[in-house]
Amino acid sequence: MATEADGAGTGLVFHPMDQFIVKPLFGDGPVMWYTPTNATLWMMIALLCVVALFVLGTRGRAIIPTRVQSVAEVFYGFIYKMVEDVTGHDGVKYFPWIMTLFLFVFFSNMLALIPKAFAPTSQIAVTAVLGFGVFIAVTVIGFVKNGAAFLGMFWMKDAPLFLRPIIAVIEVISYFVRPVSHSIRLAGNITAGHAVVKVFAAFAGIAVIAPVSILAITAIYALEVLVAVIQAYVFTILTCVYLKDALHPAH
C-alpha cells in the first residue's frame, strides 16, 4: 500500500483510502472479472474460516462438544433462533441462506481488522450484491407466496382512507430504499472505521503525537471490533425482517 510519503513534502501524508484498492494477486495485469485479486484472497480466507469452524470443527459430531464445535453451535443457535423469532416458523427453510450471509459478513468484517488485510465488505460492489440480492429474493418470495396480496403490504388498512394513497407512496419509496440503505450501511460503517484508523496512523508520523495516536488507534480498533460484529448482526436481522414482510405481508 502506498501509505509512505509521496517523496517531496515533509508534512503528514494521508492515504486512508489506499487500503481499499483492489489489486491482482499475481503480476500487475488488468483486473478482469476472473482475476484473482486481494478481494478474492480475503473472501477465500473468510470461506476457509467458515469451513474450518463449521466442517472441521464439527467433525467429531460430539454430544459433549469440543470448544470449536461449541462455537459453531453457538453461531448456529444464534442465527437459527433469530430466523425463527423474526420470520416465524415458515422462515426456517431460508435459514441456510441467512446463515451464509451472516457468516460471510461476519468473517469478512473480522478478518478485515487484521493489519494489512483487505475488507470486502467495505466495497459497494460487494455489499450492493448482498443488499440487492436480499431485496430481489425477498420480493420474489413475497410475490410467489402471496401473489398480488403482497402489494397489500403497501396499502394500510388501519389508516384513514384519504391517507392511504399517501402512505402507500411512502411505503413504496421506503421499500425501494431498503436495498440501498441495507448495502450502504454495511459498506459505510466498515469504510469509515478503517479510514479513521488509517488517519490516526498517519498522525503517528509526528513523534510528539504518536503516543496519543497509538492510544486512539487502540480505542478505535476496539470500537471497530464491536462495529464488525454489530454490522453483521444488523445486516442479518434486517434480512430476517424483510423476509418476514415477504412471508407475512399483512402488518
Binding site: 483510502m17 495485469g29 472479472w33 469451513v51 463449521f54
Partner: protein, 189 residues
Amino acid sequence: MATETTAADAAHSAAEAGACVGANGSAIGMPQLCVDWMPNQVFWLVVTLVVIYFVLSRIALPRIGSVLAERQGTISNDLAAAEELKLRAVEAERAYNEALVQARANANKIVADAKAEIQKELDAALAKADADIAAKSAESEARIAEIRAGAMDAVTIVAKDTAKELVLALGGNADARAVTAAVSARLKG
C-alpha cells in the same frame, strides 16, 4: 494519470489501474466505488457465497442440527430415565416400609406364639408338679398314719410290759391276762 511515462507504460498503467488509481499508486477518490473492479468483486463474491452456501447446507448445518437434536434427545432420555429411577426408588422405599411393617407384625406374632407355648408348657409342668406333690404328700400321710398306728401298738405293748413289771416290783403276783385287760381298759379310756 501517468502523463510523463512512456506510451507503453501509460497504456499498461491505465490498463492496470484504470480510473481509480493514480500514477503514484494512490487511490483517486473512493476505490470502493470504482466501477472497473466491480465485475471482479461480484464474480468472486458470488463464488464465495455459493461455496459457503453449499458447504453449510450440505455438510455443516445438517450435521450441527443433528448433533443438537441428538443432544436434546439424550438430555430428555436421561431426564426420563432419572424420573423413572426416582419413581422406582419411591416404590422401593414403599415396599421396604411395607416389609418392615410386615416383619414387625410377624415378630409380634412369633413372640405371642412363643409366649403362649411357653405358658402352656409351664402350665403342664405346674400341673404335673402339683400332681407329683399331691401323690407324694398322700404317700407321706399314709406313712405317717402307718407310723402312728405302729406307735400306738408299741405304746400298748410298752404299757402292758411296764404295768406287769410294776406289779412285780411291788411284790404282787401279776396275772398277765388281768394286767393286759386292765391296761387295755385304761388305754381305751
